[in-house]
Each structure stands twice: as structure tokens, then as C-alpha cells.
Subunit: 475 residues, 2 copies
């Protein structure tokens, strides 16, 4: 534990660490909860650990709506569902805030080894991929073991070829494995476009060994013709690599990706509130859109369910909370954080009175750490929070958190954030695949999340003073 | 152990049990291996535990051929591959024995909940399913929790409906969970046809929670219009059941299954031999066809690889084996055991001199038990075999074995059999799904299989006397 803490200290500039005797001086002046507040926190944790509301929410969303790709009719149904659900749970000021965005959808995705070992390969198009010509593109495959290998490749030699980036992903509890692997998803099509390649295949950004490829957004290079890009399921990436190893000559693959797009389509955010005694805001939530392959249970039905159920527990307490608690179900997170940007734009006048924000968008695993992105003077408050959460196995983290993808824009506008960091060990077995379904959620872990979020929301609402502003570069 | 053995004794008429002091009298007269034979057996086990040939075979087959549905061009390529592989490994009398059979292939399989919760469902058509009308059939779903519930349903009331048989499968080390669950696959379409249903959906016969539905052969009722039948992935069966629970009225599903068929197409068996000092035969092998969804690694590339590599180890010994060892790669097992029937018919004159037969067709898990189906007088020989295999954790089994699906016809013609019973705990997570790929094979478990089979083949070849005839009902 001390070793881990030391590592955090060395890698982050501003950090608090309450392990061992070497806690910073600030801890000695830490504020504390009143006896009544502490009792309420304990009661909320107890209630969260028995909660069935979060499960009901995520079961309802994933069953009654299912997949809900950004800017589709299914996402619109999900917004209506969200507004109705918030109202039925007693939230006030429930509204849907729509916005316009481009639409992208998959129509067809097929791949096969044409020669020398003809057989199908299982692929999925990445978000915003361009289409191949009708019937697909058939070309020789050139394999790069990693993205850096492709980046280091000469500028000529890949014209008309299918680039295959085979970089595997490290399984980790935290996000670092994904942070590295996902660069392949965004950058491989750009690197391939620079070199005139016909198409790109990447090994799925995922840690499983199932025939379920992982989709996700791809980047496009400005000023370059976009290249169709698809992800191979991990066993299919293995297979293509083995075929290349065993073939005496080139391996030829046919990739057929057809998509539909439109410049403007409607998406939206859903908002509900527990009005407080002041107009200061605590903003929490998850994103209501999902990729189209699964039913969006862990990404991010769980986040919607956890934050809504937790806020409801706080709302059920006697009397109004000190601050207003706002639950946001952001739209169109997956394809480009459109809902997050729209929210920040529509609510820019409320930024000053948004005391703290946090999103749940890392699956449904247990929370094991409390990270923050707050002003240094507010770190003692975070320490108080963490100590209150210790009984459900949550340890101190660092102060470099971004708060989750959908709070990114308001964080960059100065809003402090926290991260209730979830165990992601299995998350990338399922992330962005057809396998993101309700049965993957452990009800006990979901309850632990509700307990932690309810306690956090309550403490954030009731604590004296603010959480400062994280000294972001943008300020 | 004693308890387990007692259970075996009570459930099987003819059995030998060498545990404890109560071993039957026959054990006292058990033959034993000569010192030299025992040394050879040990050497074969040691060599098997270091074997890389089986892995090379299954990697080659699954990579260079991939899926190989019965009576397709891919299965024909697999036969050519098999003959070339056997020759390259030094087998003699290598030949392909073709036969004609009907062909069935899937063209399209789609399903969706139409109302009240519109969303796609992931399905796969079962083998020999009839087609729906173009565009599919849309109808109300009627759910039965089990096959017996459907079987007990009235003869009227299901006309034009989609019957959904939601029976789950028990995870077990042995075959009993499958034996029960698979009845749903074969019998549900028959029961539905009797009642005039429009289509049948079954929960996949499998123990996993992935969006990979399990295919497999379905039965047709003679004299009844066949009903299209497809399997839902387990999470999709969960989803449909939940949708029915949450819907206020009927749940309507559209199922679209399109197939292609022909009355005659070519399949075949591949045969290779290690000639012995006599024309007595030891017949071992696996099936070379696979379902089309995966690459047939565990079903049954592994069986081909294990038996071929094991026979090669015996062939590599100095001098000819006493009996001729024949490796058979049966064709068209999955769709209807056509290769097994063709082999029995083509080789009926050799039945009398076929001393014993065995197939490896239960995945690639470790062998934990030696079952047999031999004449009672031969049981002491089986006991000798089991004792020699004990060092690789194989325990005695019972004498009720069928020897594997492809030796069924020759067993019924009187040929004794053994079963080197594999651990099937995880087998039905993968069986008949796209996930049946090479990465699911544990190389160490594969080697243990090779070790056991090499020792078995050698002992079967060298032991004095025969294995009698199992007193089958047909005799």
C-alpha cells in the first residue's frame, strides 16, 4: 500500500495521501463531518448496499430500449424513457435538452481472407468509418505489430494495401491499458490515410478472446481522404496473423464496410433535479446513448442507474439538500461527446455555481479508489469523503482526475470533479461489443456503487465551502 | 472416490471397479504388461507430454482451412489437407473415401423484437432448419420454460405463433447436462410442428453468457410441415424472457431464416494407417467437418490432432505394431453422422477384425477417466490400461461407453470401444459457436490427451487376445 501511494505521489504533481505517518500537513486541519452528517452518510451507505432501484433502472433501460446509438430513433426513445423514469422517481425540473449533430450508422460489415486460406473474418466498423466501394475492397494485407511501427513506416509502400495494426491490449485494473491501446483505434486510420492505404483493420481494443469485435470512434485526418476502418475480433486478429505466418506469399483480404450518414440529426441530454436550499449545483450522471452492438448495460446504463439511484437516496432524506443535485443523462457520448459539449454550452452561465461534478462511465465494477480534480485547499474535504467511504473498501487516490468524459468540457471551464474509480479488470472484455448486456452486471457491485455515490453526493451537497477550481491549463 | 465408484456400480450393469478392497474377482486374474511394454507405455506418455505435433495439426487445420461445413467446398479442402497431413507424417494407405449426402447451409438469420420493445436479437439457424418466407415471419411469442412444458402443452393454441423454449443447460464436467439440454434442440421443432407453430426459438444449448448462439442439428417430424428453428444467444434468451415479463401485452418477434439445400453433395472420410504385423485393426480418429460458425478447433480439430499425433508416436516406435492402427477423419459428423454411416457401410467386411475403436470428440480438455464398452472378459485389460494412465490423472470409469459419435455405427455392429473421457466443464461455453477457435485450446491439456491416446493405442495394439464384443441390443 505504501509503495502504491509513493508511486502516486511521484507521478502526480498535486496529490494527497493519507496512508502511513507521512500524511501531508493539510490532513491535520481537515474538516470533519458533524455527528449527524456522519450518521446520515452511514445510513446512505447502508441504504445503497440494499438498493434495488439501480438494478431496476438498468434492467428497464436495457430491456425496454436496448441499443441506442447516438442520433437515432432508439436514442430518442431512451430520452423519453429517461425523462419518464426521473419523474417517476420524484425528480423535479425534468427536461430533455435536444441538440443537432451529424449521424453515422453501420449498414454492412464483412471481411474474409480471399487467399491463400479462404474463410470469413469477424469484424465491426469503427464509428465514423468511411465506406468501401460497393462489394468491398480486396487487397494484400500488411501487418504492423504496433501503432508505433505503423507510425514509423515509410511514407510510401502502403498505397492500395490493407493495413493491419495488430497491437494487443494489456489487461489492467485501471485505465492505462486502454489509454495506450485506444490510440490505435483513433490514429491507425490517420496514419493509413497519410500513406494512401485502401483500408485499415485493427485488432480490437479489448482484452477478451471472443468472436465479438470492439467498435468505438475512429479519428479522421483533416485534408486527407478518409480510409475505411474496422476492428477484427481478437481471435480473428490471431487468425489473420497466423495466416500471414503460414502463407508462402501475400495474404489477400476483402473488407466490405457500408455506412449511412447525415449532416444533422437530433440527439439530446436528459436532466432531472433534486432542488436544494441554494442554487449551487452538484452535477452527476452517465451517458444515455450506447453503441449499437450491445444493449449498453455496462456502457453506460450502469452509470445512469448508479447516479440516479444514488441521487434518489439523497433526495429521499428528510428536508432539502443544501445544494441542488442535478442528474444528467448525456446523449451522444460514444460518437464524439456531443452531449457533453452541448451541455457545457447550454449551461455555461451555471458554471460558477456548479460546485462539483462527476460521471459514472467505467462499467459496473466495484469502486476501489476516490480520485479528485479539485483545488488544493479542498483536498482535506476529499480526505473526509474517502475516510467515510473506507468501510466499503475505497482507498485514497490522486488529484489528477478528469471526472469522466462527459464532465470534461465543464471541468475545462473550471468545475472541480471527482472520480469514483471502478475496477476495470473485466471491463474491456465487454466494452463496445455485443456482449455489453445486463447479465454482465454484478448486482452486489452495483449496490456498492450506489452506496458510494449516495454518500459522495450527500457530502458534496452539505460540506461547508467549495471545492475550489482545479488549476487547469485552460484557465 | 469410493462413493463415486459405488454410484457407477449401481447405475451400470457391467462394470469394473478397482478402487478399494472390493475389486471384482476378475481383477485378480488381470493380465499385465511385460516389463518392456510397460517401459514403452511410459516412454509414450513422456513423449506425449512433450508433443508439439498435435498443436501443429490443429493450428494448421483451423488456420489454413477454417470452417468446414459438411458437403461444402471447404470440407473438400479439409479432406485434401487431411490426406496431405497424414502422408507427411508417415502414415500409409492414405486415401479419401467419398460419399454422397444432402447439403444444408445457412444463408441469412435475423431476429428482432418488433413490439413493444423494438431491438435486434442475435440468433443462429439450427442445422436442417427450413426457411421462413422471404422477409421472415412476424408473430407473437409464446414462452415455455422447458421442453417438457411444451410437450405437455395442448394440441391447439400455438397455430401461427413463435414458440420459445427457454430451457437452460446445467454446467457439468460430464455429458449429462448436454444430454438433457440437447433434446430441446432436436425435439422443440417437432413439438412445434405438431401444433402448427410458425417458428421456434430455443435458448442456445450452451453454458456461456456471450452473444454467440449455439447451432447444432435439429430434428424434423416425418409427415409434418417442418418449422423454421433458430437458437438465441443466452443473453438474448434472457432479454426476450425479460421483455415478456415487462410487456403489458404480447411480445411480437420477427424471425428471418433463409437456407440453401441440395439433395446430393459430396462429403468423405480420410483414412491413414500404420500397418501392423497382422490385419487386425485399431480404429481411432475424430471428425474433420465442423459447423460453419467457428473454425472447429475444439470440435473437432482437437480430436483429429490428438489421435493423429498419438498414432504417429506409436508408429515412430521401432518395429511394426502388432495390429494395424487406422486413423479415420470422419466427414459430415455434425449434420447427421453421414461419415460414420458411410464408413461402417464401406468397411463392414472389416468389422470382425476391428479389435477396438475410439473417437476423440469432446473438446480439448484433459482426460480424467477411462470408460469402456467391451466384453466382460476383457475388463481386466481395461484395468491394466487405466493403471498405466493413472500417472496422468486418469481414473477408472464404467463399461457403458459408446465410444464417440462416429464409432457408434461400428460399435452397434459389435466392435468394442473405449472412451478417453475429457473434462467438459467449459466445453459448452464454446461448442457450436463462432468462439470455437484455436485460442480456446490449452496446449498442456492437448499434450496430456496425446499422451493418454498414444499409451492406449499401443496397449490396444500389443495386448494378447481381443476385447470381446459388447452385448449390444442389436446383436
Amino acid at each position: 500500500m505504501l509503495k502504491q501511494c509513493a508511486a502516486v505521489l511521484s507521478s502526480a504533481g498535486m496529490v494527497f495521501c493519507s496512508l502511513g505517518a507521512a500524511a501531508p500537513a493539510a490532513a491535520e486541519e481537515a474538516p470533519s463531518l458533524t455527528a449527524k452528517q456522519a450518521e446520515t452518510v452511514d445510513g446512505l451507505i447502508d441504504a445503497g448496499l440494499e438498493d434495488d432501484v439501480a438494478w431496476e433502472i438498468v434492467e428497464s433501460l436495457t430491456t425496454e430500449i436496448g441499443p441506442r446509438l447516438a442520433a437515432t430513433e432508439a436514442e430518442a426513445r431512451a430520452r423519453d424513457w429517461g425523462a419518464a423514469k426521473l419523474k417517476s422517481l420524484g425528480f423535479k425540473n425534468v427536461r430533455i435538452e435536444t441538440f443537432e449533430m451529424p449521424y453515422w450508422g453501420r449498414v454492412l460489415e464483412e471481411a474474409e481472407i480471399v487467399s491463400p486460406f479462404p474463410q470469413p473474418l469477424i469484424v465491426t466498423a469503427l464509428g465514423r468509418s468511411s465506406a468501401t466501394p460497393e462489394g468491398g475492397v480486396t487487397a494484400e494485407v500488411v501487418r504492423f505489430r504496433t501503432l508505433p511501427e505503423l507510425q514509423a513506416a515509410p511514407e510510401t509502400g502502403l498505397e492500395g494495401k490493407i493495413v493491419f495494426v495488430d497491437e494487443p491490449m494489456a489487461r489492467m485494473q485501471g485505465i492505462a491499458g486502454y489509454v495506450t491501446a485506444v490510440r490505435k483505434r483513433s490514429q491507425a486510420p490517420v496514419e493509413a490515410a497519410k500513406r494512401g492505404a485502401a483500408a485499415v483493420l485493427i485488432r480490437s481494443v479489448g482484452t477478451d478472446h471472443h468472436r465479438n469485435p470492439h467498435t468505438g470512434g475512429a479519428a479522421r485526418a483533416p485534408d486527407l481522404t478518409p480510409v475505411p476502418v474496422a476492428a477484427l475480433a481478437n481471435p480473428d486478429a490471431d487468425q489473420l496473423a497466423r495466416a500471414m505466418e503460414r502463407a508462402e506469399g501475400p495474404v489477400t483480404v476483402r473488407l466490405d464496410v457500408q455506412v449511412e450518414t447525415s449532416d444533422t440529426a437530433e440527439s439530446g441530454n436528459v436532466i432531472g433535479e433534486i432542488p436544494g436550499q441554494t442554487d449551487e449545483l452538484i452535477v452527476v450522471g452517465g451517458h444515455i446513448d450506447s453503441w449499437d452492438l450491445g444493449t449498453g448495460a455496462i456502457d453506460d446504463g450502469a452509470g445512469i442507474a448508479i447516479t440516479t439511484a444514488a441521487a434518489k437516496l439523497v433526495g429521499d432524506l428528510r428536508g432539502k439538500p443544501k445544494r441542488t443535485i442535478r442528474v444528467v443523462m448525456w446523449g451522444a457520448e460514444e460518437i464524439g461527446l456531443n452531449g457533453a459539449d452541448a451541455y457545457a454550452e447550454m449551461h455555461k452561465d451555471e458554471i460558477e455555481r456548479t460546485i462539483i461534478a462527476a460521471e459514472s462511465d467505467y462499467g459496473a465494477g466495484r469502486i476501489y479508489r476516490l480520485d479528485s480534480g479539485v483545488g488544493e485547499a479542498a483536498l482535506p474535504k476529499i480526505e473526509v469523503m474517502e475516510k467515510a467511504l473506507r468501510r466499503i473498501s475505497i482507498v485514497p487516490g490522486d488529484n489528477t482526475s478528469g471526472g469522466g468524459p462527459d464532465v470534461g468540457p465543464i471541468r475545462r471551464m473550471g468545475v472541480p470533479v471527482v472520480d469514483l474509480v471502478q475496477n476495470g479488470w473485466d471491463y474491456f472484455d465487454l466494452h463496445h461489443t455485443p456482449d455489453d448486456t445486463l447479465d454482465k452486471i454484478d448486482p452486489e457491485a452495483l449496490r456498492q456503487n450506489v452506496a458510494a455515490w449516495a454518500a459522495f453526493i450527500y457530502m458534496a451537497s452539505e460540506m461547508e465551502g467549495d471545492f475550489g477550481r482545479f488549476p487547469a491549463e485552460e484557465e
